[in-house]
Each structure stands twice: as structure tokens, then as C-alpha cells.
């Protein structure tokens, strides 16, 4: 049974607010409600451009049970379509593959271009007759899902109701304008995923606050102390944390990874880690960035897809392979240290007398900002 939660205690200032009620973490019906009001109604991350690097690359993605298809077309643009044939509803592409000419449905061979246009309807008018007056090709293109690629993350707005991505996220894009330079995925060692027994929101909540760093990441805290961090929170948009003491990784020869070009002094020792609501976590540093797409599996399980990017390509700078691998390992250790926390909070959410929790008015602003945003989306969905 869907227990309609009261969200007024979330939608107040951090000093006195409660967190989202338990239903938002353990109730399958509330998960379905959030699927529509939070994840489909906004710009959610579903994948990475690096997964379809070449023209014709196609990758099916299951997003909350909805079959989607990522395609790189002949113009090099990324498109996202519903992975469902317009004829009998057959799944079109069931595994990653290279489309050399057209996407052919494996059932009756209706064919689509890489831009989703219907190109062939074999025998639609009878054997050997491939057209019919009542079947108009231009009416039957694949259903295109609104998409936008930023920092190599493929964002989609499934229900089409959100504002344009560049408008919704204009402030964040402006904030990180200096990082709007070519980024290169670090290769095989620079991508990994973590399966966590946790609601997807708990990964966001943990990511965007620095309060836990000295307790959960003591190694990180040895040089990056709590007081060297600052909160980032923009109401109704995004939140996260920044550090003033980012220290580059060095190898045994004292070498460091190349910096992104043209950064200002702020980023010499500065770095920022921001949750792009609802489900994308980004980090930027002078010499690398990363993106995490949280794949909500159900109310109790999430897959964290983590990819790291650099200022130079793996192909052009093999001399940095070792540093890239060490850097990825360092982050993997940090993110794995967080697993027990998000899984522990998930278990704790089954405590039926838990009231959603109280926030530290000083330290938990970014987390409350996220709760406030989620609650707002749900209220919008409930009131229409």
C-alpha cells in the first residue's frame, strides 16, 4: 500500500526540518511515484557518451523498466529513443552493437535510420508490396526521448515536461564554465560500478555533504580536513561540497597528470563535488573529473556507474596510464568506503519509528537541499 507521506516537515528550513519519511526509501509504491515525479519528470542521467564513441554505436539501456536505446548517428550526435518498434512493440536492440546501415527490428524487419526515421516496412501491403496508403513512414519514427549530453553524461527527460537542460542547469553550467573543455575518458581502468543495497537517494545524500569525511574517510581527512571544505547549495537546483586543499596525485618520479587548460587560480587547490539532481554526481579537479550515474534498480538497490575523465586522451598519453590507474583506484577506495554508510542508512530506514531524521543546521545544508528538491518534485506531481 502506498503510504502517502506528509512532506511539510521536509519543506522548511534546515534548522528544524526532518528528512524525507521512510516510505521514500522502503515502499515500492512510493518508488513508483518517485520514478514518475522525480526521475522521469526531470533530467536524469542514464549513461555516458564514451559508451557509444563511434558513428553507428548503439547501446540499449533499461531505465526504471523503460527500454531506451542510445545511438550515435552519422553526424556524431547522440540520440536516445524508446527501444520499441512502432509496429508490434518488439524490443529493437537487445545488446550493444554497431549499426552499419539501419536498425532492423528482428520480428518483421521494419527498419529505422540512426535518427529514428522509419525507412522500410517490408511486405506491409502484402508479399513483395512494401508500402500501403494507410501506413505513413513519417508518422512512425521511433519515439525520441529528450536528451542532452553534458560532461559526457547522457541526460534524459522522459516525460518531456522539464525546461530545457541549459535553462534548468544554467547556473551550474556557468559555475563550472572553466571546465567546459574537451575531456577524455581514461580507458578501461577508469570505469567501474558498485552495486549497493540502498535506495538511490542515499547515495546522493552522502555524496553532497562533507560532514562524514573524518569518520568514514580518515585517510582522505589526513590532508583534507573538515574545516577545509565548504557547503554548496542552491535551492531548487543542486548541492554539494567543495574543498580548498585538493592535492594532485604524484607518481614515484613526482609526475602529475596534466591540467585542464585555462583554469583560474581558484582550481589550483580547489575542487568541487556536486549532485546534479536527481541522480548524477559530478566532481571536478584541476587534472581530472568524474561522473557517477546512479541507476535506481528498485527502492532498495542501486547501481553506481563511475567514470573518470582527463585533459588528455589515453591514446595520446600512454605515459600517464599508471597515474590514471592509481587515481581510479584511489577513488574506488573512497567510494567503497561509503558503501557501508548508504547500506546502513537503508537498513535504518526500516526502523518504523524513525521520523526522517534531524539535520545539522550547519553541516547538512546540502543534504537537506536535496530532500527539499525531491519533496518539491513529489508535491508538484501530486498536485498536478
Amino acid at each position: 500500500m502506498n503510504k502517502i507521506s506528509r512532506l511539510s516537515s521536509v519543506l522548511t528550513k534546515v534548522n528544524t526540518a526532518n528528512g524525507l519519511p521512510n516510505e521514500h526509501y522502503v515502499d515500492p509504491d512510493t518508488f513508483i511515484e518517485e520514478k514518475h515525479t522525480v526521475l522521469f519528470a526531470n533530467w536524469s542521467g542514464i549513461g555516458f557518451g564514451k559508451d557509444i564513441p563511434e558513428v553507428g554505436d548503439a547501446k540499449p539501456v533499461d531505465f526504471l523498466g523503460m527500454p531506451l536505446l542510445l545511438v550515435r548517428d552519422r553526424d556524431g550526435e547522440i540520440g536516445v529513443f524508446q527501444n520499441t518498434c512502432r509496429h508490434r512493440g518488439m524490443i529493437l536492440v537487445s545488446k550493444p552493437q554497431k549499426i552499419r546501415g539501419a536498425i532492423r527490428c528482428p520480428y518483421h524487419s521494419w527498419c529505422y535510420s540512426l535518427k529514428g526515421e522509419l525507412r522500410a516496412t517490408p511486405h506491409v501491403g502484402g508479399p513483395g508490396q512494401n508500402k500501403h496508403d494507410d501506413v505513413n513512414l513519417s508518422d512512425l519514427s521511433l519515439v525520441r526521448i529528450r536528451s542532452f549530453v553534458w560532461r559526457d553524461v547522457i541526460f534524459v527527460n522522459v516525460d518531456g515536461s522539464a525546461g530545457a537542460f541549459e535553462e534548468v542547469h544554467c547556473e551550474l553550467m556557468e559555475r563550472w564554465k572553466e571546465f567546459d573543455v574537451p575531456i577524455f575518458h581514461g580507458g578501461e581502468t577508469s570505469g567501474f560500478k558498485l552495486d549497493v543495497k540502498s535506495n538511490w537517494k542515499l547515495a546522493v545524500e552522502n555524496y553532497c555533504e562533507s560532514y562524514h569525511l573524518p569518520w568514514v574517510h580518515p585517510g582522505l581527512n589526513s590532508y583534507s580536513r573538515l574545516e577545509d571544505h565548504y557547503n554548496i547549495e542552491v535551492r531548487d537546483q543542486y548541492s554539494g561540497q567543495g574543498t580548498l586543499v585538493y592535492r594532485q596525485l604524484t607518481d614515484h618520479d613526482g609526475e602529475t597528470l596534466p591540467d585542464f587548460a585555462g583554469l583560474s587560480d581558484k582550481w589550483e587547490e580547489g575542487a568541487e563535488y556536486i549532485a546534479v539532481y536527481p541522480n548524477v554526481l559530478l566532481g571536478v579537479q584541476r587534472d581530472h573529473s568524474f561522473a557517477i550515474v546512479l541507476e535506481p534498480v528498485n527502492q532498495e538497490n542501486t547501481v553506481e556507474h563511475i567514470e573518470l575523465y582527463y585533459a588528455t586522451s589515453e591514446k595520446d598519453t600512454p605515459e600517464y596510464d599508471g597515474l590514471r590507474a592509481s587515481n581510479a583506484q584511489q577513488w574506488k577506495t573512497v567510494f567503497e568506503e561509503d558503501v557501508f554508510v548508504v547500506e546502513g542508512m537503508q537498513k535504518g530506514r526500516h526502523g518504523e519509528l524513525f521520523d526522517g531524521g534531524r539535520f545539522s543546521p550547519v553541516m547538512d545544508g546540502p543534504t537537506h537541499n536535496f530532500h527539499h528538491w525531491v519533496a518539491t518534485q513529489i508535491e508538484i506531481g501530486r498536485t498536478g
Binding site: G101, C111, P127, G128, Q129, K131
Partner: protein, 79 residues
């Protein structure tokens, strides 16, 4: 290649998912039917040749589309 041999070759090409070979063999099958003045059957095979050519991006797709369009069996596509 007689019809039995062609059928066997087609089944083999399907099993091996050899699209270029399917284009070639279905075109042969169509031409055999054209010689027998069986236009419907010829268009059936031409359709298959065209679909596999379109799928794999083979240049034959242009000519096959034209042949079918000339017979009123398909919309002429821009390539």
C-alpha cells in the same frame, strides 16, 4: 545455381548472419523469378535483398530501392 542450391545457400547465410551474402543470394533469387515472369515472387526476394542491404549499409540498397520503386512496390528513399 539451381533453386535447391540457392535455398541451401540462403539458409546457410541466414545461419551465419552473413548479410552481404544474403543481399547477393536474395537478388539472385529475385532475378530467377523475374526470368520466370513471376513479378510478385521477384519483389518478395528483392524486398529481402533490400532490407539486408539497408541494414548493413551496403551500397546495393540504393539500386534495390530503385528497382522496387520502379515496380511501385516501395517508397523511393533518399540516401
Amino acid at each position: 545455381m539451381n533453386r535447391d542450391e540457392l535455398n541451401r545457400a540462403l539458409l546457410g547465410a541466414h545461419a551465419r548472419e552473413e548479410q552481404i551474402e544474403l543481399v547477393r543470394l536474395y537478388t539472385l533469387a529475385a532475378e530467377e523469378r523475374e526470368r520466370a515472369r513471376d513479378t510478385d515472387a521477384a519483389c518478395f526476394y528483392l524486398t529481402h535483398a533490400f532490407v539486408f542491404a539497408l541494414e548493413c549499409g551496403a551500397p546495393e540498397a540504393i539500386e534495390l530501392n530503385q528497382r522496387l520503386a520502379d515496380l511501385g512496390r516501395i517508397h523511393r528513399l533518399a540516401f
